[in-house]
């Protein structure tokens, strides 16, 4: 897929970059080429390797293999310092600003000009004002960054990057938390920077934005190049075709299951995060229901409310027909609800404890002997049974979770809950950070659980996961359920239309 460099060497040329994390091959021989004054979009599904590639370019992580050429000359980028010295700046999804400091102090953070041993305040004010003007940010350099909107904070980040003479700006999902007006303003700034000779690598899930901005699009899939699109080839269908490339059905066979009785019924539920909106829906036992939507649509918050992490302000929850009060995970678990959270390592598992200890953690209370003594044989039983049922690949049950791959860690989370025989299983991004092979195993396990009568409600940001798995999908947008799609109505377009709230917002094509 690599187009050999033309007559002039490209500004940035990435050749055969590979990177492996424990259990996951994140990148395998990826190529990328960026010209001066070019906006290159890098697209691909979650886990396609975009962020890893950008972290390598920004010196956050070293590659395992491959080379990086700048102006045709090979360079080593071993630290973020190296990247900055070479003129490469990464603007993270989450901004890296000291919100307690002024705009000027942030722009010059870490390389403050000194006069007589003290920070030269007047110089950093003057200089930063110049860069703020370049990004069209009309605020006084003394303003505290914490007092700015997210969109404006982002402009401060860009100004900071310009102040170190960055030639290449990498932006990772810059619009994910911006309003429409802020997004528009960002685009004006990006185009202006391009005209000044700055090159931009733009990472986004929003294909409408990609189409509007890009001079060139590079598509990644499963850590490899999936294709390139020139300016005039960029359209929605072409991008989706390259991104998805393959149907879920290639490695996962969906079965039709009979729907059972109502397992979960939610009525007029209001969560603390989106108190304005009421959520009502139900899931039958044996049913697999997806919750689709963009990042920040309130899906995780909804699951956390159902699981009692952030108890509901109002509304009712019924499990198997009886109304229950859920004010903590303890009461949720007692009612037969389980949650496999999105942040597996932080919330789902105690990663420095063993496989056995994690599998039994939720069941200890139920299985205790008198006076709180551990039932060792019962614990052993659960551990053996779940390692087998979930097909956890581990040398033994005393292996510390930290050393398992992401897929096997997720299987341990599922096993922990299966041991509780839940009626309702909530899954938040069940296959995030898991490689393709293990993904299909997770899908199969979900399918098996549903078949055994568990009601499954899963949040997913991966379109193919929503389209391929779901018997039905709820689509959320900014805290509301904007629609419900049956199996027959499910399509990328129908989901996207509801996910973006305003029809056509992301489907400009």
């Amino acid at each position: 897929m690599s187009e050999s460099p033309s007559e002039n060497p490209a500004l940035l040329e990435v050749r055969g970059i590979g990177k492996t994390f424990p259990g996951v091959r994140a990148l395998g021989g990826v190529n990328l080429s960026l010209e001066k004054s070019q906006v290159l979009s890098l697209i691909g599904e979650n886990g396609a390797g975009k962020s890893t590639l950008m972290k390598i370019l920004a010196g956050v992580q070293p590659p395992d293999e491959g080379e990086i050429l700048l102006d045709g000359k090979p360079v080593e980028i071993e630290s973020t310092r190296d990247a900055l010295d070479l003129g490469i700046s990464l603007i993270h999804q989450e901004l890296n600003l000291a919100t307690n400091l002024s705009v000027a102090a942030n722009v010059f953070l870490g390389r403050e000009p000194l006069r007589g041993g003290f920070i030269d305040e007047s110089k950093i004010k003057q200089e930063s004002a110049r860069f703020l003007e370049m990004v069209g940010l009309d605020v006084h350099p003394d303003t505290l960054v914490g007092n700015l909107t997210i969109g404006r904070q982002q402009m401060v980040e860009i100004a900071k990057a310009l102040s170190v003479n960055s030639r290449i700006l990498i932006m990772d999902e810059p619009t994910s938390s911006l309003s429409q007006a802020e997004t528009k303003n960002l685009f004006i700034v990006i185009k202006d920077l391009r005209d000044r000779g700055v090159s931009v690598i733009y990472i986004s899930h929003r294909l409408g934005e990609v189409k509007e901005l890009s001079d060139h699009v590079t598509v990644l899939r499963d850590g490899e190049n999936a294709g390139e699109l020139g300016r005039e080839e960029v359209n929605h269908e072409a991008m989706v075709r390259l991104m998805v490339g393959r149907d879920l059905s290639e490695y996962y066979e969906r079965k039709d299951r009979p729907k059972g009785d109502l397992a979960l019924k939610v009525n007029k539920l209001r969560t603390p995060v989106h108190p304005k909106h009421e959520l009502s829906f139900s899931v039958a036992s044996g049913e697999i229901v997806a919750v689709a939507g963009l990042v920040g649509a309130g899906r995780t918050e909804m699951l956390e409310t159902l699981f009692g992490v952030t108890p509901a302000l109002e509304g009712t929850i019924e499990v198997s027909g009886s109304e229950i009060t859920i004010d903590s995970p303890i009461s949720a678990i007692e009612a037969g609800i389980a949650l496999a959270p999105e942040d597996r390592k932080q919330q789902g598992l105690v990663i420095d404890m063993t496989v056995r200890e994690n599998l039994s953690l939720a069941a200890l209370k139920r299985d205790q002997k008198q006076a709180g003594f551990l039932d060792i044989s019962k614990e052993q039983e659960i551990s053996d049974e779940m390692i087998k049922a979930m097909r956890v690949k581990t040398p033994n049950e005393d292996q510390v979770i930290r050393f398992l791959s992401g897929g096997n860690q997720q299987k341990v989370v599922l096993g922990k809950w299966l041991a509780m025989k839940p009626k309702v299983l909530l899954l938040d991004e069940p296959t995030r950070g898991i490689d393709v092979g293990a993904k299909s195993e997770i899908y199969t396990l979900m399918e098996e659980l549903a078949e055994s009568g568990v009601a499954i409600l899963y949040v997913s940001s991966e379109m193919e996961e929503v389209l391929g798995m779901a018997d039905r999908a709820l689509v959320m947008h900014e805290g509301r359920i904007t629609g419900e799609l049956s199996r027959d109505e499910l399509s990328e377009e129908s989901v996207m239309r509801l996910a973006t709230g305003a029809p056509g917002d992301d489907q400009a094509a």
Partner: protein
């Protein structure tokens, strides 16, 4: 077991070295005294180990020891309180201290360091207040009661100091609690990752409160035995720095201040090592006694550095295997 092998060999090494460097170290009087000190400090170290396992800290131990140590003779000799009532008051006070610490940390969400630092100041100040800053003691009375700390139990021809029996009971109970009950498992889990523990349906707050209650109870028991042992207590310095000895012993014994890691046997060995070291500094002529803190500080530092390096090496090996 592997985890305590390092500290155990260090204990043996210091013990053997001191027996060569000092003529009186192996005298039965000295050994008995050493055992008694180890037992007394062992009890408060086991207490703080529970708090450290949750990822917290208790700086108030020395002041609780001081309050209990002064209040007991004060109640008995000056207020004419009967022994059972005095003991009941001390137990109730210790329970209350631990409970209040726990509530402030879990429900009001204050940092353990801050809460127990205030405790450190409060309990000592209160003690100096109600005693009028006067030394409190039993004089020649309460010999029977004092036997609890000063007495000896003949075992296999050796007179085992009474506090060792207390330590043995506390250590066995603590070991069973930590390793054989679901609550011990909960403490280890939440010390490792509080959020994951909460997401697994564990009542995290209740367990943390329990840890502080256990710690305060051990401090109370320690204070009781300490004052029975030495007969009198000065409000101004009784129990001074004891929290630091306890924390140091727990850390030497393999507890991580990050939480989630620790064994009772390790803590007892850590305490023994501290006391043998202190004994060595006193007995060996050419070690100036006044640099005691420097030596103990250096040994602890060396111990935890070695432990950390060892852990990293093990982690690397395991990572490369899987």
């Amino acid at each position: 077991m592997k985890k305590i092998l390092g500290i155990l060999s260090l204990l043996v090494f210091v013990f053997v070295a001191t027996s060569f460097l000092s003529d009186v170290f192996l005298d039965s009087y000295n050994l008995e005294n050493l055992l008694r000190r180890t037992a007394l400090f062992g009890i408060i170290s086991i207490g703080v180990a529970f708090v450290i396992i949750t990822g917290g800290i208790d700086l108030s131990i020395g002041s609780v020891v001081c309050l209990v140590g002064c209040a007991l003779p004060w109640m008995l000799t000056e207020q004419g309180v009967s022994v059972p009532v005095a003991l009941a008051v001390i137990i109730a006070f210790s329970l209350a201290v631990g409970f209040i610490h726990g509530i402030l940390i879990t429900k009001v969400k204050l940092q353990p360091f801050v809460v127990t630092l205030c405790g450190l100041l409060l309990y000592r100040g209160i003690t100096r207040g109600f005693t009028g800053d006067q030394s409190q003691g039993f004089g020649t009375d309460y010999k029977g009661l004092r036997e609890l700390a000063t007495g000896e139990v003949p075992i296999f021809g050796f007179d085992l100091p009474m506090p060792c029996i207390f330590l043995l009971v506390v250590a066995v109970l603590a070991g069973i609690f930590l390793n054989k009950t679901i609550y011990g498992r909960y403490l280890l889990a939440l010390g490792n990752n509080e959020e994951a523990a909460r997401f697994s349906g564990i009542n995290v707050d209740r367990m943390v409160i329990l840890a502080y209650v256990i710690c305060a109870l051990c401090s109370g028991l320690g204070g009781l035995l300490f004052v029975l042992d030495v007969n009198s207590a000065q409000p101004v310095d009784f129990g001074n720095f004891y929290e630091l000895y306890a924390i140091a012993a727990a850390v030497l014994g393999g507890c991580s201040l990050r939480g989630g890691v620790g064994t009772i046997i390790g803590v007892v060995i850590g305490t023994a090592l501290m006391q043998v070291l202190r004994n060595m500094i006193v007995l060996v002529d050419w070690i100036p006694t006044h640099i005691e803190y420097a030596i103990i500080g250096a040994v602890i530092l060396a111990g935890v550095v070695a432990d950390e390096l060892l852990k990293k090496a093990v982690a690397r090996r395991q990572a490369s295997q899987s």
